[in-house]
Symmetry: C2
Subunit: 113 residues, 2 copies
DNA sequence: CACATATATTTGAATATTCTAATATAACAA
DNA sequence: TTGTTATATTAGAATATTCAAATATATGTG
């Protein structure tokens, strides 16, 4: 169960396990953006953004190309978005379940302080 | 970009970012198993397994039901497996890309020691 | 009740990830 | 060459995750 493949899979999911990296992928949904553009959309500072881009690059979620001094990032494998959409279906259901538990805990009452 | 939803999404992926937890989900693909059975399949010790099951439970990837002293775990949302299969398509391609880079680095040669 | 079995939780140390700040690099323009 | 803009990398501190060991709990049995 700790085969190289299992460990690699875990790295794959870890690469997605950060809100900035998810925001990057979201921002690139409609097409490539430069780092500066990403910075504006995501509101993260230069160094942070660059470090997270590096992780996504290492794991091949994004590719980059230089044009003069600007670097454009892209998600070449469009199936990534199908995948993220499927993820959304699942976690929305999971959240709903948590909601239901809360309601059962406090039926027609305020939550205790 | 650090909205509660983005943060929750990140938690969702983090929950999958561990080889033991992926092994658990794999083991439950064909149906429910008890903790003892999981221990045998996954070869992880009791405490570790239980801690990872707890994370999967909190994030609603698994549900559990007690039968006498035995607790059976299950993945009630079968779409999770579609999702994991899609993930596999993607990371297999990502791995292939890494392979190609290696080949380019050392064309028709052994890798340097 | 006392004990056994199955599983869960807690605690602290070990390890990994993230952030901040500073520095480095690459390409171009003057 | 010097300066400027865009981006990347590094180092160390801050934070989070994981693991191992010990302990707790829940259920059933004699």
């Amino acid at each position: 169960m700790n085969s190289p493949l299992h460990l690699y899979k875990a790295e794959f999911f870890k690469a997605l396990g950060h809100s900035v990296r998810l925001a990057i992928l979201d921002a690139l949904r409609e097409g490539p953006l430069s780092v500066t553009e990403l910075q504006a959309v995501i509101q993260a500072d230069q160094s942070i953004l660059s470090q997270h881009l590096a992780k996504l690059r290492v794991m091949k979620f994004v590719s980059s190309r230089r044009e003069k001094t600007t670097i454009y990032y892209d998600v070449p494998d469009r199936e990534v978005y199908q995948f993220l959409d499927l993820a959304k279906n699942i976690y929305v259901r999971q959240l709903q379940q948590s909601q239901e538990m809360l309601k059962e805990l406090a039926p027609s009452e305020e939550l205790p302080e």
